[in-house]
């Protein structure tokens, strides 16, 4: 397969410059692919799909009953970031996570940033994800967001912008690791001559970070708490537990007794010190949050408050993940770090501000509207691709609850060559790097590149038909 008929149109392309020549750091990849004999790449593509199905690497789609498991579409052509591009992203993420942690810790203690009127207090205190139950808590290392999956996008100008912070229970990292495994098994030649930074040390880093949260414990027991096999990210939960060698538990496996948390085993109760929880705040403890939750553990928050168990991510950290509060992250960075943000936000209109709301309502057909607390591509209006009825529906919702809506200009997301039938076409992509934060902050090189597989679509979420690509970060010293 050749790239000869490939068009970048007017978008920033991850592989090709506007004049159609490959970017310097992907030249070798282009040569490798073009040197394959006819039909090889498609054969590899099909082999990769078969392998994913055999390995049972699937996700569940909510509201889809029979045959609810699907493979996450995988495109064989990797997305490559140069060492220089990555260094910039990495610095920006470290800065941002540092500031977000400081912000959350401040909000649950002295609220200096509110007293100094950098962010309006009512915006923070009215956030659905603000948890007054977390007031005064000081988790180990004063860290609240241990695992983050920040969504980055590139606009037409080639710059990276932060689209969302995803501080609560970000998913997708298992696909980063499995995509690399699949590509190495199916198409090893593509790695030749390049120095691609490995991703498979992530589970070890994650385990180290989690163990470090059990302060003063010699042999801490870490478990991963899942909502169960019907959760859309269940594969990832079991994958990470398996790779870390820790127990995967459901709420019903845990019990709080005498202030400590235990798991129920065939030989009685065993103490648990650290819980990597993939259950939302609301469902974690029916005594404190939603009383109807069957997924949680009664008494868990009390044990957490008393310092008898560590939770990652920390309950209450979603306050910084609210899409309205997102708009203030650059201000947080200036306030807590005394620096300008390295990675800019996407410009954001806040509908609770009268002038912004006015503008948004008048320009719905151009903007992307999001509700403050939803994820997964739900509760979202992409103006240029929307029908009149949908716009009217959103206009009514915005007027009824302006605090709950933000709007952003429709970005011309960058594109990457993707196999479509028997040729390459440009498809829009984003990038979700994963950041671990314990005593120190570390960023997994690369992250998940999600691809909007439908022509022209800007929605990359797996629940909405998105796929993914292996994402390479080249080691420093190579072509940049």
């Amino acid at each position: 397969m050749r790239f000869s008929g490939y068009r970048t149109d007017s978008f920033y392309d991850e592989m090709f410059q506007d004049d159609g020549t490959p970017r310097p750091h992907v030249r070798l990849l282009v040569d490798t692919i073009e040197n394959l004999s006819d039909g090889h790449l498609l054969r590899y593509q099909r082999a990769a799909e078969r392998l994913l199905l055999q390995m049972g690497i699937t996700f569940n789609v909510y509201g889809d009953s029979a045959g609810a498991e699907r493979i996450f579409p995988f495109d064989l052509v990797p997305r490559i970031l140069s060492a220089g591009e990555w260094a910039h992203i990495e610095r920006g993420l470290v800065q941002r996570i540092h500031a977000l942690n400081a912000f959350i810790d401040d909000i649950y203690h002295d609220q200096k940033i509110l007293k100094d009127a950098v962010i309006p207090a009512d915006v923070v205190l009215s956030a659905a994800s603000y948890r007054k139950q977390c007031h005064g808590l000081s988790p180990p290392w004063r860290v609240w967001c241990h695992i983050t999956g920040t969504d980055l996008v590139r606009d037409r100008d080639g710059c990276f912008y932060v689209l969302e912070d995803n501080l609560r229970v970000p998913s997708g990292v298992s696909y980063v690791i499995e995509n690399r495994e699949v590509l190495k098994r199916i198409f090893p030649a593509v790695f030749e001559g390049l120095s691609v930074r490995p991703v498979n040390e992530y589970p070890s880093r994650l385990l180290e970070m989690l163990e470090s949260l059990a302060l003063g414990e010699q042999n801490p027991r870490v478990v991963l708490l899942t909502p169960g096999i019907y959760n859309s990210a269940y594969f990832e939960h079991s994958f990470l537990a398996q790779q870390m060698g820790v127990q995967l538990v459901e709420g019903r496996d845990l019990v709080v007794s005498g202030g400590d948390v235990f798991m129920r085993t065939t030989k009685g109760l065993e103490r648990v010190h650290v819980i990597y929880r993939r259950v939302d705040d609301d469902f974690m403890d029916p005594d404190v949050f939603r009383p109807d939750s069957l997924l949680g553990v009664p008494g868990l928050m009390a044990a957490y408050r008393a310092g008898r168990v560590a939770l990652a991510n920390a309950p209450g950290n979603g306050v910084a993940d609210d899409k309205v509060i997102y708009a203030y992250v650059p201000d947080m960075i200036r306030y807590y770090e005394g620096e300008d943000p390295i990675l800019p936000n996407v410009p954001t209109y806040l509908c609770w501000r009268d002038a912004d709301r006015q503008y948004v309502l008048e320009h719905l057909a151009e903007l992307v509207v999001k509700s403050a607390n939803e994820s997964g591509g739900y509760g979202m209006l992409v103006g240029p691709h929307s029908a009149q009825a949908a716009r009217e529906d959103f206009a009514a919702r915005i007027r009824a609850n302006p605090r709950n809506y933000i709007a952003q200009p429709t970005l011309a997301l960058s594109r990457a060559p993707t196999i479509v039938d028997d040729h390459f076409e440009g498809r829009h992509v984003d990038l979700r790097p994963y950041v671990l934060c314990g005593k120190e902050i570390s960023v997994l090189p690369g992250g998940l590149t999600r691809v909007a597989m439908k022509k022209g679509s800007l929605v990359v979420n797996s629940s909405q038909g998105g796929g993914s690509k292996d994402t390479w970060v080249l080691a420093p010293g190579g072509p940049s």
Binding site: L53, Q54, M55, G56, Q218, N219, L224, G228, I229, Y234, F235, S238, F239, A241, Q242, G245, V246, Q247, L248, V249, E250, R252, D253, V255, S257, M263, R264, T265, T266, K267, G268, L269, E270
Partner: protein
């Protein structure tokens, strides 16, 4: 840093136990189908639609009658192999095994998961057809797939507590299935006393042995086809892996490995019941069993095995109130 042995979650123990039982069940149903099909080919026309006995081995005769009526080959195969609404069809067993495996994917090895998953992909593809292209090939594929799973389990998973629960599940299921098939031969296949010892009878006994892969091993040990000896072989043999006594003995060993109780003693109800059944079989004579009535013996045996299953559930899987020990 020394690591303590990972304790096993009750839920996980439950799931691996049932995963093993379902795989074993699927394998046995495939064996029943295969051997019966083979047997039909050997029999004169008037006997050539003997599918009802197979339905009876399952203990779900009434359900079949209600859903299908007549026991034709097509109906029997549909019911036993592919019926998604019948909990003990091969299809349902493999789905259930996979659901259990999926819920403990971090505990079992990736290779085990991939093998169950490939069985699942095979059975879902087959189930879309009206009937398998070739019944013997289909049954063979299921049997081999299940054997492969057993072998992969043996050689890729640590032989730890979870593995012993897999072993207990598999052995109990196997003992149960061997009993059922013997029971059917005695009471359904046997048309009249006059047929005993005829060539027709020999064919049927051979088929029975083949359905548990025991024909060759039996021949080596006893030579001539003799019903008493076959009953002895399948019930009381201490070496043949599908014999009831052998299976119960293995289950007992695995249970002791789980609890750490020395042999000859017990620390919970399941151990006590299983140990008692084991020694009963160890010291049984086939002549006494036949004299007391084989069917009565089977009934009692199945009741005992069901009780053991319940005790295992109570001792190891049941959710305990706070602080209570499982040995209570």
């Amino acid at each position: 840093m020394t690591q303590l042995a990972q304790p096993l979650l009750s839920r996980v123990a439950d799931a691996v136990y049932w995963m093993a039982r379902y795989i074993e069940r699927a394998e046995n149903v495939a064996r029943f189908l295969d051997v019966n099909h083979n047997l039909m080919l050997d029999l004169p026309g008037v006997f050539s639609s003997q599918w009802q006995p197979i339905i009876n081995t399952t203990g779900d005769r009434a359900l079949f009658a209600e859903r299908y009526g007549e026991a034709t080959q097509q109906n029997a195969v549909r019911f036993l192999a592919f019926d998604a609404e019948y909990a003990n069809s091969i299809y349902s067993c493999i789905l259930a095994a996979r659901e259990n495996a999926r819920s403990v994917r971090e505990t079992i090895s990736s290779e085990m998961w991939e093998q169950i998953n490939s069985l699942y992909l095979m059975i879902t593809a087959e189930a879309r057809k009206a009937a398998p292209d070739s019944l013997p090939e289909f049954c063979h594929a299921v049997r081999m797939g299940c054997h492969l799973f057993e072998g992969i389990t043996h050689s890729t998973a640590s032989h730890n507590e979870a593995w012993h629960f897999i072993s207990v599940g598999r052995r109990l299921e196997r003992a149960d299935k061997t009993t059922r098939i013997l029971d059917v031969k005695y009471f359904i296949l046997l048309p009249s006393v006059a047929d005993v010892g005829t060539p027709f009878d020999d064919v049927q006994w051979s088929a029975l042995l083949k359905s548990v892969s025991g024909f060759e091993m039996y021949r080596k040990k006893y030579g001539r086809i003799a019903p008493d000896r076959i009953v002895e072989f399948l019930l009381l043999d201490g070496e043949f892996p599908r014999a009831v006594r052998y299976s119960i003995g293995q289950a007992d060993q695995a249970l002791h490995a789980i609890t750490g109780t020395p042999h000859g003693g017990f620390s919970c109800a399941s151990e006590q019941r299983l140990g008692r059944l084991r020694s009963e079989l160890d010291f049984a004579r086939v002549e006494d069993i036949l004299q007391g009535g084989l069917h009565e013996f089977f009934d009692a045996l199945q009741t005992k095995m069901n009780t053991i299953d319940e005790c295992i559930g109570n001792n190891f899987f049941a959710q305990r109130p706070e602080g209570a020990r499982v040995w209570a």
